[in-house]
Symmetry: C2
Subunit: 324 residues, 2 copies
Amino acid sequence: MDKKYDIEDLCERFKDEDKVALARLITLIENEPDSALEIFQHLDDIEHESYIIGLTGSPGVGKSTLTGQLVKRLVEKDMKVGVISVDPTSPFSGGAFLGDRVRLSEISCHPNVFMRSLASRGYKGGISRAVFDISLLYEAFGMDVIIIETVGVGQAEFEIYKLVYTTILILIPGAGDSIQAQKAGIIEIADIYDINKKDLGGDEVAVQIEMMLDDATATQSGWRPPVIMTNSIKGEGVDELLERIWEHKEYVELSDLFEEKKKRRYAYKVKDAIMNKIESILLNNLFNEEDLKDIGSKIVNNKFKIHEKIHNIFENVHFDIKKE
Amino acid sequence: MDKKYDIEDLCERFKDEDKVALARLITLIENEPDSALEIFQHLDDIEHESYIIGLTGSPGVGKSTLTGQLVKRLVEKDMKVGVISVDPTSPFSGGAFLGDRVRLSEISCHPNVFMRSLASRGYKGGISRAVFDISLLYEAFGMDVIIIETVGVGQAEFEIYKLVYTTILILIPGAGDSIQAQKAGIIEIADIYDINKKDLGGDEVAVQIEMMLDDATATQSGWRPPVIMTNSIKGEGVDELLERIWEHKEYVELSDLFEEKKKRRYAYKVKDAIMNKIESILLNNLFNEEDLKDIGSKIVNNKFKIHEKIHNIFENVHFDIKKE
């Protein structure tokens, strides 16, 4: 079958709101990053804007359950919702432990809902690339809300906040030092704090965060991040969480922030694409796995000379990169 | 003061086992990556090999306390120990919440111990760069053991396992789904599993991991990763953890693995250095923050054309990279 025809056909069905076509286009984009160019050439007459929300927090804080609760409420309001879950998956087996996801399968069958789980490693062009491209596809599909759910601890995962308009940080009580660590990780970028599993005693954490917000210079921007408490399994507090999300959305849309956040989103994508391009040129040609292993072997008995070796590599490699 | 003289002088004092000189060289390497070249030119006559251990796990599992317990036992055996703690720190404030570290201050004053905390973001050349360079400095300083303690969830943080010889994954019981997620993240690369906070009921997790190891193809390598339980605050099980570490060390050193792991360590550093070099060339010259913002602005009302825009950028940029 002619592949061009296939993409064109898929895009036609996609425009008719065919979820199977959406699923196949996502798979295509996941496996063949370059296909995005052609896919969006068929979709560039679409005019639609989704509101993009990020849900972040350490493993085990209840992100998936909370996402499920939010999605349930959004579809009750006749909204179309797209979810991207970034899983910290093995780079070896390639398989995710999808226990969490299974629970969401009921809600994901709703005609207005589409969910996709991504492994956070082993992606051609990295996880940010796939998350951006899929969120763009969701926008073209006419989603009202897109939720990007991610472990916000890592360097790469953390950057995903640059792709969303409202960032929700989920914490849990009782973890003691862990709260400190969690806080330190991502706390200033959160627009809303949610203390989940509140029955474990969330008051103390809430007080800690409020105190921190009192000190923070970041809050001078005009938005004081609210601190709320939920129990995602029982669904308690989720309505309030949603209210706070709408309040922040309104705040963002009524200020210059929306334009700024959108620009940041696209600038981030462009930078990401450029870096990926260079990396693939480099690692496929000049320094492939074999070359690197070879260099490693030569250094192994001279380890303190490694910087000299690297210096020599740069002396002998010419980077001529220019814009026309 | 002549800077060259300064580095030379610091390196002389470093060779006399002056910890203040070590501290200053680390700071230099942290702030000025390029200084590593000159520093190691003064140290390349040293012959010493450290054994490098990685301790990884989600925030709150007790990595710092466990590290403290291990360090205490190592110095009791007259060993010199260097610790690198990678903190998930704010990219904005730049400040880490060092609560955990404070507790370790007593042991860190011991003459045979040196500890350094790194923020995991905002590093010139990324966190891997700093972690490698500091570990190399520790090796030159004559450390018997180096412990690299890191949150093993993120893409970048995860890769730190390529820098160590024995990887210990720390889990905690009772987190339910979280264990699933934690497991999925890093489980196949662990050489030892430690279930910390065992008083919260570690048996179930231990069984889960043992079952997973039964299934795993990874264990066919000849080393069946042991699963042990500790209570890091009370110090329970730490002696056993240390025994398992020595067993793995022996296993590694008696096989080809040691050579392989060392080659991997240096190859990783070389790749990392090359990528950093290119990134800085690119982002400082052709695509600086302003350029990217500018591109972002142009796309904001044409978002579905972003891939076309990126494609055009590549059409007009010439990458000519060649080795002599």
